[in-house]
Symmetry: C2
Subunit: 483 residues, 2 copies
């Protein structure tokens, strides 16, 4: 609970990231953790507004690539789970079940929607003309986590989008996996400012029911990796289980090839907060801040009306040009307001007082660099350009950070040092098939790190031998600690 005397952050991000994170999500009013069910949290208005912006950009990007929205039920009959064996095995321990209703099948709260959606696809797809089928839904999903939960990072309920696509050929499905990686790049990296490593997971770490999985690994300030949107080549595993077939151009029946893609908006919010925030609070990218410019009118009793009316005019003009701006007209002192909106991470603050109006030079505060500059009313119209520069700076800084943290590594000893230094190792590795699992287990036990996979966006060729077993290396893998 927040003590009145500790409204600001009391720790520095690079000294105690975990505590910094716990404080910032509460103090910037993103979440409230006092809800009385373990692993379930409340998203407060500021958090909800940011998530809505993130949803909006993500859904638009998916729609642009011909995905259509749908809404599927939040409950799934037990019998559906039983249709795909490895999916059943992978998800059953994590399922919240509803109390059985007499005469009806036992129902699960969806942990993910493959087994809800694909039975309907079997009705909808008849012919090659019905393909590709590209469908998504924005939804909450529920997982009975046995690991410790962390707000927005791992909860028993989270907010995501799930896209489930069907194709006539494996090639098209594999192209979709690449398209999904590209969508992550366009939205999570370019809009949310969060860089990632597209990692093709080792076989022992793929999604339950997939042929292979590509996860987007994002670096947290504590040096650990967190999996953001993942995309799965499901192949024909599910289409065979759910009988999703089409007649090809020769009239022959075939099973469809499937992919699914799951960007979790609430978890990406955790990465936005962690990647950009500083010791003064959040820093939100211009492209997703619900308020891009906050106007702070500085007034006394005499000039209050005039200052507020001028502020209103400026706000109207900005909003007309598509800038999301608001006025903080509350009775707090300007200093308090500055402080609060910095904590909330709003990119720009405009200070408007008597002096500023007379001089026709307003004061613009820029959140990330924490600098004030004079700006004319005319120049304010270019705020979108300022916003683009703002986001470019955030991306550049975040890119630099992850780049610096990836270290090439030749020996076990080097690997241990890199991991202890909270960095990510790039190393030669024997195999990411089942054969490599022994070496991966060694790394997990001895070095307390994970083989995260190989690059999914490009082929990296190993030179030399596996750093663990010394056999000829077939892969270049990335190794790090993870959430």
């Amino acid at each position: 609970m927040i003590k009145k005397s500790q409204e600001g952050l009391t720790v520095k991000k690079d000294e105690d990231f975990s505590e910094w994170y716990s404080q910032i999500i509460e103090k910037a009013k993103i979440t409230d953790l006092r809800y009385n069910v373990k692993g379930f949290i409340v998203i407060r208005p500021w958090g909800a507004r940011i998530m809505e912006e993130m949803y909006d950009l993500y859904e638009k990007a998916l729609q642009k690539k011909d995905h259509q929205p749908t809404f599927f039920p939040a409950v799934i009959p037990e019998k559906n789970f039983k249709k795909e064996a490895s999916h059943l095995k992978g998800f059953t321990p994590e399922v919240f079940w509803l109390s059985k209703i007499k005469g009806e099948d036992r129902l699960a709260l969806r942990p993910t929607s493959e087994t809800a959606m694909y039975q309907m696809y079997a009705f909808w797809i008849r012919s090659h003309r019905d393909l590709p089928l590209k469908i998504y839904q924005r939804a909450q999903v529920f997982r009975y986590e046995t690991k410790a939960t962390r707000p927005l990072i791992r909860g028993r309920e989270f907010y995501w989008i799930e896209a489930h696509d069907c194709f006539a050929t494996k090639e098209e499905a594999e192209q979709q996996v690449q398209e999904d990686i590209q969508t992550t790049e366009e939205v999570m990296h370019q809009k949310f400012g969060v860089p990632f490593l597209p990692m093709k997971r080792p076989q022992w770490d793929k999604f339950a029911g997939a042929e292979y999985t590509v996860g987007s690994d994002v670096l947290m300030p504590d040096g650990k990796l967190i999996q953001q949107p993942s995309t799965h080549l499901l192949g024909q595993n599910f289409s065979k289980a759910f009988d999703v077939k089409f007649k090809d151009e020769n009239g022959k029946e075939q099973f469809v090839w499937q992919t699914c893609y799951g960007p979790a908006i609430s978890r990406m919010l955790a990465s936005v907060i962690s990647t950009h925030g500083d010791d003064y609070g959040l820093i939100l990218p211009f492209s997703i801040s619900p308020v891009q410019l906050i106007i702070i009118p500085i007034f006394n009793k005499e000039n209050k009306e005039k200052i507020l009316s001028e502020s209103e005019k400026i706000k109207e003009r900005l909003n007309f040009t598509g800038i999301k701006s608001e006025i903080d007209a509350s009775e707090k002192r300007p200093g308090e307001k500055y402080y609060e909106w910095e904590l909330k991470g709003v990119p720009f603050r405009l200070e408007i007082g008597e002096k500023e109006l007379n001089e026709k030079q307003l004061t613009l505060f820029i959140r990330d660099i924490r600098k004030k500059q004079k700006i004319s009313l005319k120049a304010l119209e270019n705020l979108k350009e300022y916003g683009r520069d703002f986001d470019k700076r955030l991306i550049k800084k975040a890119d630099q950070l992850i780049k610096e943290r990836i270290i090439d590594c030749k020996t076990k000893k080097e690997l241990k040092k890199i991991i202890d230094d909270k960095k990510i190792a790039r190393a030669n590795f024997c195999s990411v098939d089942e054969k490599g699992e022994i070496c991966a287990e060694y790394i997990e036990k001895e070095i307390n790190a994970e083989v995260r996979g190989t690059r999914a966006d490009k082929k990296e060729r190993p030179k030399g031998n596996c750093i663990i077993c010394g056999k000829s290396a077939k892969e270049v893998v990335y190794i790090g600690k993870s959430y």
Copy 2:
């Protein structure tokens, strides 16, 4: 299941509304009822896109009136329900429970979120400066319906918005009830084209835990009324149960006054479909149609490229001016396309062929009046005005229909005839307090109709005696059959 040979509607709306409704939601691809859990349905892309437009308008209207979005968990501990006695009694039979987890409180899937939200309000509200608190969420809710379910109308899962507000005084709370009625008017009536009677419900028919309830009664084509957004004056019932207090300006602790408001988007979609649709399919208001104008290019092998490129130019220009337009470039015959987009209810269709391009006169088909007219490229820029006229016609027609169906009524015999004629009776009535319940029960038993309440937007004064018991009438009530 839809047979290939019956793709169109096979019944007329005014001959068999129930069958017409069942057919249209499937054939216009709004829903799919083949999901294998009773009372749970799939919303298909066309339905989901319409609902997104409806959500968008509703959320904007609420935000304009200072409501802030939030996300609360979908599960609520049993103990929270027990805090407000009549709420517990009213909702317990309808709750889906989760299987109990050892050592944790039993959890309900939310049927509505009062008992989830107000415990948090107790943390958030301290002082009169924290009021009013106006919060909403878009959410799915779950009710174990024992009555027969009907797609979009009554399901075990539905899609709504719930706004929960707190005030310092009862007067402000009552003003909020009026504001909510006004929001229903601005959005459901003016944007969705669905007129309603704001009915203050009799005491025996109020929301579980409320002081009073105002429901929005909408007329269905079969003469029955359906309750659309309702708003409840909760008074201090819940604030006392959940200890939601504030210090007033004199430093005295007081319980807050509360309201809640619940526009169900999926149910309103049922009214949009039922109110405007005709024997050719849906008719969507211009303001909520995901596609406002569909472009049908008419081409042969020779001119395909040219026609499509001209269509693309027109689409780009229209979209630039804020018109949602799409091109149907599929290989179907133009006739098939006309038919399909009429079924889907798109307001305008633009036919572009060689002849049209040469003459610079395109053909515009207007869905509600089913008329074609010539339109120049230049005039197309006024399509928004056409759209406004389109919506005005829909509203006028719907208004006329409900107006004609309300009949003043003096005797039991007249009442019976009005109800048998599928109309709504306006009648003098003894009382809407507990005292009137006997007369209401008589109407339910003998005439198979319900006393829906008194006008909440204006005071109607009775002249004469109760049509049932003959005692002096205190109220003018509306009586009808209902869903």
